[in-house]
């Protein structure tokens, strides 16, 4: 194991390492800790310039309540849910079908199609922005949840198809062949044989897509205008302009915006990391 495993260290070195860990963590997360502390601070203390002392009044309840009731934050939060969850389901479903096809059927253009999905994943959003925006306007979906969902499903399908195709390719060929020999239809092969086997990959993808779509800012900015379909990322950004001096409220709003992806991450860590690092240990 690299670096030298800690069992081989001298006791004082081990001690230093163990002490350094929490210190390093605090240093690393310092900006975040500051935000959390400020989010529970009362407005008076913020105005008085008391940012770093121990909060004299714990206004957590008041701050969060204010953010939730006096601003459209709750609506933005709901919008984010309405956008993200269907997008995850849609993208993963489409990618499962396409990934299966790319992995199992050799046909002319298979590799080309695969390359298109890979490439599409890395292109800058800006090259898509205006036509997608104009298309969305033309479909009458501008400033709607559906408009955003449709785009996210389309875009995320690229990455997910790449991922699932590689994953399915690694499954033993005999399984599908055996099913076919038994006379199973292609759909049955897909749904009864392959799908159950790729469940961990589906979970990893669902978690990743959730995070990407929930945290999306650019497309929400491009495809929405008013408060109707606006998700929480844009909402929090606009908070900054609205309550410039009330950093306690901005902090509270940011925490709210961050909570779902954080919860999903900590709950599904293994899947998240598996999805992100797929390919990091190949070869």
């Amino acid at each position: 194991m690299y670096p030298t495993p800690i069992e081989r260290w001298k006791p004082y070195q081990r001690w230093i390492y163990k002490i350094s860990l929490p210190l390093a963590l605090i240093l690393w997360l310092l900006p975040l800790i500051a935000v959390m502390v400020t989010s529970v601070r009362s407005f008076d203390e913020v105005m008085a310039g008391n940012y770093w002392g121990w909060p004299r009044h714990f206004a957590a309840y008041g701050n969060y309540r204010e953010v939730l009731t006096n601003s459209p934050m709750l609506k933005y939060f709901v919008n984010s849910c309405l956008i993200t969850i269907p997008a995850v389901i849609g993208a993963v479903a489409l990618a499962a079908l396409a990934g299966f096809a790319l992995a199992t059927y050799p046909f002319r253009g298979n590799v080309l199609l695969f390359a298109v999905f890979i490439a599409g994943n890395f292109i800058p959003f800006q090259i898509l922005m205006l036509p997608v925006r104009n298309l969305t306007l033309k479909f009458g979906l501008f400033d709607t949840i559906t408009g955003l969902v449709l785009f996210h499903v389309a875009f995320q399908t690229g990455f997910c198809t790449l991922f699932l195709r590689n994953f399915i390719k690694q499954l033993p060929f005999e399984l599908t062949e055996a099913a076919r020999v038994e006379g199973a239809s292609e759909w049955t092969v897909f749904s009864r044989v392959v799908l159950p086997l790729v469940r961990p990959a589906l979970a990893a993808l669902a978690v990743l897509v959730f995070t990407f779509v929930w945290n999306d800012y650019f497309w929400a900015l491009t495809l929405t205008q008013g408060d109707e379909a606006r998700p929480i990322t844009v909402g929090v950004a606009s908070l900054k302009g609205q309550w410039v001096a009330a950093w306690n409220l901005v902090s509270a709003g940011s925490i709210l915006a961050a909570v779902p992806s954080v919860v999903v991450f900590f709950g599904m860590q293994r899947h998240f990391i598996a999805g992100l690092t797929f390919g990091a240990t190949k070869g």
Binding site: M1, Y2, P5, Y17, A24, L25, L29, L30, P31, L32, A34, T38, W52, L94, A95, A98, A101, L102, Y105, F107, I118, G120, F122, I123, P124, Q126, I127, M129, L130, N134, L135, F151, V153, A154, G158, R180, E186, F190, N215, D216, Y217, F218, T233, V236, A237, V250, S251, S254, A257, A258, S261, V262, Q269, L276, T277, G279, A280, T281, K282, G283
Partner: protein, 294 residues
């Protein structure tokens, strides 16, 4: 019976081809409409002058000519280069943290998760957190330095301030890649090197790093793409300012197309950005597909 060059496909082959078609149709449809078509449309759009509402006028390469002689474009290009250069710190820093955390002690799993945490945050939240951090009156930086430096308001520092903020989640991502890569390092090679008396750096360079090549490849690719794509943080932290000193191609495009209603011009900027990344994507694709054939 003579064998012709093309034989009639068997029943099973026909069924499979049909299945392939239907399985692929939804994804290809969505992707075609929302990704492939827009790329082509943007390229076409870049040759026109259009405000999004009235008739559009064909201007040929006019947008590009204007672009290459504009101040803002050169500032954006320069900033993109700064982003690219500084972002390359993320993989080595990520590796350093991964090596630091690659020990079995109590609570190390929690430590790893917490170190990875910044990547899970939205760009908006990271931007707000660091805007707060840089605030000259009460920001943490001011507290640490003893005096306030308005980083985001200073033309010389603003890009660096934003890149530094962006490095936070990016390093976390590289760290996770390397942590995963380290788990597959061959322990026997490491032991052999140790027995031979190799010092830490030598082992790292000659034994460990070569085995981490897949992780490094992905880390570098994602970091480069991230540097060229950066938008969220710039939009939230500085809106490209002050006086366009922190703008990048991605933000410049958005500004021109949406705020100034110049869709053709914006499309031209997008095409330039696309071409820059295309070279890189082609390289990545070739590497990836070559390992496929192997």
């Amino acid at each position: 019976m003579t064998r012709t060059a093309t034989r009639v496909p068997s029943q099973m082959e026909r069924e499979r081809r049909r299945a392939a078609f239907w399985f692929l149709l939804p994804a290809v449809l969505f992707f075609g409409v929302y990704v492939v078509y827009p790329i082509l449309d943007s390229i076409v759009l870049s040759f026109y002058d259009w405000d999004g509402m009235a008739e559009r006028t064909f201007v040929g390469l006019g947008n590009y000519r204007e672009l290459f002689s504009s101040d803002a474009f050169h500032k954006a290009l320069k900033n993109n280069v700064i982003w690219l250069a500084l972002f390359m710190l993320a993989p080595p820093m990520g590796l350093a943290i991964a090596l630091y955390l690659n020990q079995k002690v109590a609570g190390i799993r929690l430590a790893k998760s917490l170190f990875f945490f910044p990547f899970v945050l939205s760009g908006v939240v990271v931007g707000l957190v660091f805007t707060w951090f840089y605030d000259p009156t009460f920001g943490l930086l001011a507290v640490l330095l003893g005096r306030g430096i308005p980083i985001l308001g200073d033309e010389r520092w603003v890009t660096f301030g934003i890149v530094f903020a962006a490095l936070w989640p990016q390093t976390a991502y590289c760290m996770i890649l390397y942590l995963t890569g380290l788990t597959s390092v061959n322990p026997e090679l490491v032991e052999a090197a140790r027995i031979d008396g190799a010092k830490g750096w030598k082992t790292l360079w000659h034994i460990i790093l070569p085995q981490l090549r897949p992780a490094t490849f992905i880390a570098v690719v994602v970091t480069v793409i991230g540097a060229l794509r950066s938008f969220d943080l710039i939009s939230v932290m500085s809106s490209g300012g002050p006086y366009e000193s922190s703008t990048v191609l991605a933000y410049l495009m958005y500004e021109q197309a949406i705020k100034y209603y110049r869709q053709g011009y914006g499309a031209a900027i997008a095409v330039v950005l696309f071409l820059v990344m295309l070279g890189y994507i082609a390289y990545f694709l070739r590497r990836m597909l070559r390992t496929e054939q192997a």
